[in-house]
Symmetry: D2
Subunit: 110 residues, 4 copies
């Protein structure tokens, strides 16, 4: 199945690579720095939820400001994940597909 | 452009949702818990690199064990990111595309 | 050996507990939330260093703004660590002392 | 007030510095690497709590294995925080004391 109607991972990776190249940011984009930046962005996503109850956390998209902030941090996490994969030649979707295959054996359903 | 030859985001999100449902894990998958789990997996990816020099970090895929470990953590990060987006109804690719649009205005190329 | 001339851990823990109580923040200070807040503050400390080379990172205290920011994040990390330990009745200094004892056996010096 | 009956921060910092020196680990202990290691250990602490409800998280010290794991991660977090402060010449207790002073002004009690 394919998505015909929206951005795809490869296109986003190319846009991110062009974006970094046009700004001379490539020397900073070592795998180590990109992994660290990914973890920093993940923490910024967590920060939105840190004092919320589980129930409150489920309603975070209900008001526009919270929804925007969550989407913005999701974008940042995905951006660094894709850039990390780009510099190391990793196909993230394929890696996840194989991981699910392994987990289906490792954790049999109840 | 579309990927005809590999897993896609929507298909992976469906597999992850089915996987969690078959194991009764849904009650644990609050947005807060999934964001936290994402940050924990991001830290596990960082851990691989924590004592490496920038140069060493660029060679992490050269030996099979390191490469496997990196791909495995990438898969875990992506898994929680997609599950987080699934429970909150966020299109991660679209969110990133819009973020790149905004960043192209915010950070003009040199 | 004792510090006669500065704040001590017990006094800081008491100030932090009083501070939280006076603001009605105690219900938010579950061990889970405090651990998460600790990790968020640790990420904010990391953020200062994320694009620096190892050499640049060693000079981070040389300019006042950077030095203030680092000290501020160190304070936040320690604040949540001490509050976490307070709510769970953990003596952090004792826990570390015992861990060093164990590590001296586990990792013999070269 | 002083602690006469247990380890103190300065003594622990000295033990940690001696421990690292005896193993030739100093070159790895850049401020950047130590901040990153701190964040990785904070994530390992969070991992213990990631699927727990707030109520379950309050009972984590009740069984010995959980209690040991929590104390162990607390020790790791504190170890990297103190080593980070050591290499940058930061007095963590003083930094926190000053931060509480500032917060008492910034967040007046209700």
């Amino acid at each position: 199945m394919t998505r015909d109607d929206g951005p795809d991972v490869e296109g986003l990776q190319r846009r991110l690579a062009d974006f970094a190249a046009a700004r001379g940011w490539e020397p900073y984009h070592t795998p180590k720095n990109l992994a660290v930046a990914l973890s920093v962005e993940a923490a910024e996503l967590v920060e939105i939820f840190q004092w919320l109850t589980p129930e409150e956390s489920a309603r975070v998209m209900e008001e526009p400001e919270g929804a925007h902030r969550v989407r913005d941090e999701v974008a940042d996490v995905l951006a660094y994940l894709l850039q990390f994969c780009e510099v190391l030649g990793i196909d993230a979707l394929q890696a996840l597909s194989e991981k699910i295959d392994r987990n289906e054996i490792r954790f049999p359903p109840k």
